[in-house]
Structures are given as structure tokens and as C-alpha cells.
Symmetry: C2
Subunit: 382 residues, 2 copies
């Protein structure tokens, strides 16, 4: 197939060639009002200008004021493409078998690293939507209670086990009505696209609080996402078969086509005052056991309603190799080992560390990418 | 103190006398646009009319168009009073010791019914905001996976253990910035008021899915709230001392005044085709171990930001007596016993059952109440 050509010059390594038209909200000038845009190379196409100039000629868009809005809600409600500046609900799944197994080995030992329910359903918990922030936002080290093994009582202070989690997330396009589940074979139509997601985690706070109702303050202080939503259409050339599931899923989770995407994912850490960052993880979206569509269909099977702009995190994406582990908990085996960042030792994140996620797929002469999802750790409140 | 007199005649048992001015959103006619109002007796005061007529004479309200809106967001952002038609995030706590102990006895047995962390922090999980519905909305019986003990594998079908949970919820007024915790002794200023809340729960779905990340589809199919927010000011005459906490809480949770409210709570069930409902629970808000202000301060101690309109459920409010248990799980001891509803047996909810929560406090010649929070079970999707 001949490469599509854009009138804008785009470097072959750019994440945003003509094959990838991700949607986001931007300001042309720092003082401008926020508006919808599409990234191409180093440029952003201002959809409000295109629309004002009458350049949309489809029946839905040429009479719509959906791009004269400070967010994409109105555009989203028209169909598959979806985006909200103010996001909806945020859910986080637990869909990588390697991550699940490593966490089980670390916390429960070799008896049953993976619990029985995990193989039958995509396990998930609700996260906090208010603290989902865009890439580049500083992350204040959380304070909280922790209770180290062997100590008689818990103490309060800044987290000593601050971690990242390498994830991606589905941004929901059209939602579903309360009480009306989405069929597994239509689930893809409810996905607008994907972003990178860093589910920052305070392991010491999490370990003490999480029984029996799950993670809360160990997670909800911040979650970072990349600013541009890459559509599934742009990712279709990189679709691949998802892992075979054994035991086979119940009929409501059995899909005609079970699809993952071959998308390279990396985590870089840049310590304060260091010129260079170090790659600490190389993983891939194709390692998910439960697919994006299974996650979405499962979420609605009880009648739960999804809304445009909802965020469905995949859970930490770890691969089978030790260097493909998607968080420091796994990489350092809960602080038993150290990572070396150009000679600096790390068990968990330190103040000043910047964590940068990136994701991309290499096509024939072009790259489909997500840009970056970054955040720098700043000291805890006094 | 002489009773305040209203120009509207109000029955002494009315939930909405002049001493209780709860805020909500109403439509004067079914075809009218939604607008903010205050309930008095059987009447609703239309705040948009009062405002248009220039009858607000305070510096904040007389030049504001905050009541010419289809919701109360703008009013909320002015200060303590707060309400959103589209609610923010929803969190559910687990703050009644009696409920926690009963659940622990049922699920884990008499060894450690209450886990160690429970006495040190208000345990909570994030719920689903999209499926919070107003009183009167029908509840579709959820379908999902369950795995009864002794069976080789899970099955899929309508929940067989559908339950209510008697709760109240804080509606957050002014929020806090990400990274800036709310001090425990200022927490009350962030509470606009309270509503009744029914955290519908499918016990069979919940039991199979909840390890290790907490409840998800067993809860997020629906949560009902009462339509009128009763302010803390209206409840102040019914304030009472909260239970002594042992071990003493860490300093960030230690408050100068530790306050509960003496508020009677009841749950009624009305089976389909029955003229009468039966009272199945008589409890009281004063049974909370962790106070509303401790819940709110804890939620923000890691920097998590609350926003106006956020909903913080208390968790099921059970008292010490068997008839004060706040859900069927406890009342029937997970279906081992039956309740009698005027001669009809119940272990869990059946299709057609209407569950009605109510809450009130009796003053001297007047009643402060919440109206009702009701929902009727309709059959599962086919
Ligand atoms: Ca996660
Ligand atoms: Ca609850
Ligand atoms: Mg997070
Ligand atoms: Mg609920
Ligand atoms: Ni949530």
C-alpha cells in the first residue's frame, strides 16, 4: 500500500504522522481558550477553525457546533470518537497475567500466586476520577499510614515506597444505558481510542489499607495520562491475536475475534540533575491476557452504564521477561533488589525523579505513537 | 427556644419544616426545565423565581445567576452549600463497627472478624458515580458470575442474593486542591449536607469477584440517594458525642470535637401486590465509629482532591441489636435464616420488592427528615 502523504512534513519517527490522527484539547496560545485539536507531526490542527471555515462536509459535522466547545463532549456524543476534558469515571483492570503472578508471589508466596477468579473474569477496581491528571503534571509524594511487618502499630508519614505502573487505558466513546449491557462483539464500537496511563502507587500505604475493600489512598493521589487519544483505527495495522484463554471464558466474554495490539511500551526514569534518563522497562500491549473489549463488556454485564470520556485502565502491563516488568514493585521485588540508573541505585522513586512512559508501533516508513506520559515527583506536604 | 414559624402550614411530622431547608433540583411541571429548589412541608420554593424577583439580599447571591442554572454547581462553588445534578466521584466507607464485625463473622468466622487496620483508619473503596440514581428509579436485577462453594466452576446468571445497604452520605461542598489535604478540624466546612443512600449489593457476584481488589460489579449496577440534601446546620440540634475510639486515632484523625448525629433510620420492604410495607431495620446514624469529618479528612490526607458534589457514603449503618442490622446479609445471616414480611419469607430481595429507606430526628414539636430513598427491583435483562 502506498503511504498516505500529508502536506505537512513529518519525520518517520514522529508519533503523529498522517496515519495517526489523535484527538486532544489544546490552547494555541497560553491565554487562548481550550479547544479541540488533532496532532500531525509537530503541528496541531485547530478543529474550531476548520469548523468555522465550513471545511467539514459530512452530514453530522457541517452543521454542528461541536468543535466550538472547550471540550469534546459534544463531538463524542455524535459517535465513536470521544473525549472529555473533564473525564468521567475511572476504572482500573488487572489484566496482565505476568503482573498478577509476580504480585501474588511477592505478597502471598508460591502457593496460589494467581487467585482462582482471575482466570474467569477481568478483575478490576474503581479508581478516583478527580485526580486523573495530564502528562507533565508534578506528582506530590503522598503521605499516609503504613504498618511495616513486626512493628506494633502503624505510623504516619510520607510514602517510602512510591512506584509507577505502566498501563494503557481505553477512552470510552459512545456509552450504554443503565441496565443495558454491551455485547462482547459490539464492544469495539464503544472504544474511541487509547492513551498511556501511569497509575502512581504508594506500596506501603496500599499494603496496610487494602483489606478487605481494595486499594484507596495508595492509588488515588494521582493518575497520569498522555494528552493525545490514538484511535483504534490508527492501531488496526498492528492488531495481533490475543493469548489463548484456558479455561475458556463464559459465553458473555467469548468474542469472535480476540485482538491485542503489538505496541512497544517503555518506561524511562530521569533522576533530578541527571542529563540522561534510563530505560527501566520494555514491555508490549500484546501481553494482556484479557482484551480491551472483554474488559469493556465485562464492566457492563451487570447493567453498569459507561459514559463518553470514561477511562478504563488495563492494569500494569508486564511481559514474561524480567526486564518487561511494569512497575518497581516487580522490578526490585518489593525493594529486595536495586535497579541501577546510570550508576544511581533505586528501589522506589525518590523526590525529583521524572518517570516517562512512551508507546509506539513501527509501520512501514512511519510510526504510530502516543507521545509521552510523564510526571516528576515533588516532596510531600510538610 | 420559641419555634421558628413559617408562613406555610407544616405538619409536625413533616420532614421539611422551617428548621430544615434541604436543597435539591426539581421541575415545577413535568415539561419544565430542571431548577434548584428548597423543600418546605409539601411545597418547593423555586430559587430561580426568588432570584429573578431580586429577593436575595446577601452580597454573594443578589448579583449571582447561580439559581438560573439547571443544576446547583454554581451555587455550590460559592461556599458551604453544595449540590450537583451530575454528581462527582463516589466513595463508600465502612464505618460501622457492628456491620464490619457481622460481615467478618459471616465471611471469615470468629478468629478475626475485624481486621487490624479497621481500628486505625476509616476503610473505604471507590464506587461508581455513573450509576448513582435518585430515589424512585427502578433497579434492574444485575446478572453476573457467581461461584457457589463446592461447585467446580463459576456460572453466569441473574444475581440470587440481591441486597440493600442502609447508608447515609456526605455531599461535599467546597473541595480541596490536589496535593493539599483538609485539616481534620476544618473538615466540617467541606460538608454541605447529608442524604440517605442505598448501596444495592449482589452478594453472590461480590463474593466471587472481590479478591484482591475489592467490590466492583457486585455494587456498581446502582446506588440510590434521596433527592433532598439536609444541611449540617439543620442537624446541629441532634448532634451527639461519637463513640470513644480505642486505640486512639493518629494525630491527623484526632478531632477537637468528635460528633455524630442522633438520627433514626428505618428500612421498609414492600413486596409487589402487598398493600403494606414491613419495617426490617431500625438503626441510627449515631452508631458510626468513624465520624463524617474523619472520613473526609482521611480521604484527602494523601493529597486526593475532593470536588463539590462528591458523594461519601458512610457504609452500612448497623447498630448493636439484631433488629438494627442494616442489610439482609446481616439480618438473614447470609440466607441461613428468613425474615417474615407480613407472613412472606425473605432471605434476599425478590423481583417487585420495593425497598424504602427513611431517616428523621424529632425536635420539640417538629421533625427534621430526609424524605425517603426508594427503589423497586425489576427483573434481570433476558
Ligand atoms: Ca493499576
Ligand atoms: Ca456499602
Ligand atoms: Mg492511580
Ligand atoms: Mg452501590
Ligand atoms: Ni470511582
Amino acid at each position: 500500500m502506498a503511504l498516505l502523504q500529508s502536506f505537512i512534513q513529518v519525520h518517520p519517527d514522529s508519533h503523529f504522522p498522517i496515519q495517526n490522527l489523535p484527538y486532544g484539547i489544546f490552547k494555541p496560545q497560553p491565554t487562548s481558550s481550550p479547544r479541540p485539536g488533532v496532532a500531525i507531526g509537530d503541528f496541531v490542527l485547530d478543529l474550531s477553525e476548520i469548523s468555522s471555515a465550513g471545511l467539514f462536509n459530512g452530514p453530522l459535522l457541517n452543521n454542528s457546533d461541536c468543535f466550538q466547545q472547550p471540550n469534546l463532549n459534544k463531538f463524542v456524543s455524535l459517535g465513536r470518537p470521544a473525549w472529555k476534558e473533564a473525564l468521567g469515571d475511572y476504572t482500573d483492570f488487572f489484566s496482565s497475567l505476568h503482573h498478577t503472578k509476580n504480585c501474588g508471589l511477592i505478597f502471598r508466596g508460591p502457593q496460589t500466586p494467581v487467585l482462582e477468579n482471575w482466570y474467569h473474569l477481568p478483575v478490576a477496581y474503581h479508581g478516583r476520577a478527580s485526580s486523573v491528571v495530564v502528562s507533565g503534571t508534578d506528582i506530590v509524594r503522598p503521605r499516609g499510614q503504613a504498618h511495616p511487618a513486626g512493628k506494633p502499630s502503624p505510623y504516619f508519614g510520607p510514602s517510602l515506597k512510591l512506584d509507577f505502573e505502566l498501563e494503557m487505558a481505553t477512552i470510552v466513546g459512545p456509552g450504554n444505558e443503565l441496565g443495558k449491557p454491551v455485547d462482547i462483539n459490539n464492544a469495539e464500537d464503544h472504544i474511541f481510542g487509547l492513551v498511556l496511563l501511569n497509575d502512581w502507587s504508594a506500596r506501603d500505604i496500599q499494603a496496610w489499607e487494602y483489606v478487605p475493600l481494595g486499594p484507596f489512598l495508595g492509588k488515588n493521589f494521582a493518575t497520569s495520562i498522555s494528552p493525545w487519544i490514538v484511535t483504534l483505527d490508527a492501531l488496526e495495522p498492528f492488531a495481533c491475536e490475543a493469548p489463548k484463554q484456558d479455561p475458556p471464558p463464559l459465553p458473555y466474554l467469548a468474542e469472535k475475534v480476540s485482538k491485542n495490539y503489538d505496541l512497544s511500551l517503555e518506561v524511562h526514569i530521569k533522576p533530578v540533575d541527571h542529563k540522561d534518563s534510563s530505560v527501566v522497562t520494555r514491555s508490549n500491549l500484546k501481553h494482556l491476557y484479557w482484551t480491551l473489549t472483554q474488559q469493556l463488556a465485562h464492566h457492563t454485564i451487570n447493567g453498569c452504564n459507561l459514559r463518553p470520556g470514561d477511562v478504563l485502565g488495563t492494569g500494569t502491563i508486564s511481559g514474561p521477561e524480567p526486564e518487561a516488568r511494569g512497575c518497581l514493585l516487580e522490578l526490585t521485588w518489593n525493594g529486595q533488589n536495586s535497579l541501577s540508573l546510570n550508576g544511581l541505585d533505586r528501589k522506589f522513586l525518590e523526590d525529583g525523579d521524572e518517570v516517562i512512559l512512551t508507546g509506539y508501533a513501527k509501520g512501514d516508513g512511519y510510526t504510530i505513537g502516543f507521545g509521552t506520559c510523564s510526571g516528576k515527583i515533588v516532596p510531600a506536604a510538610p
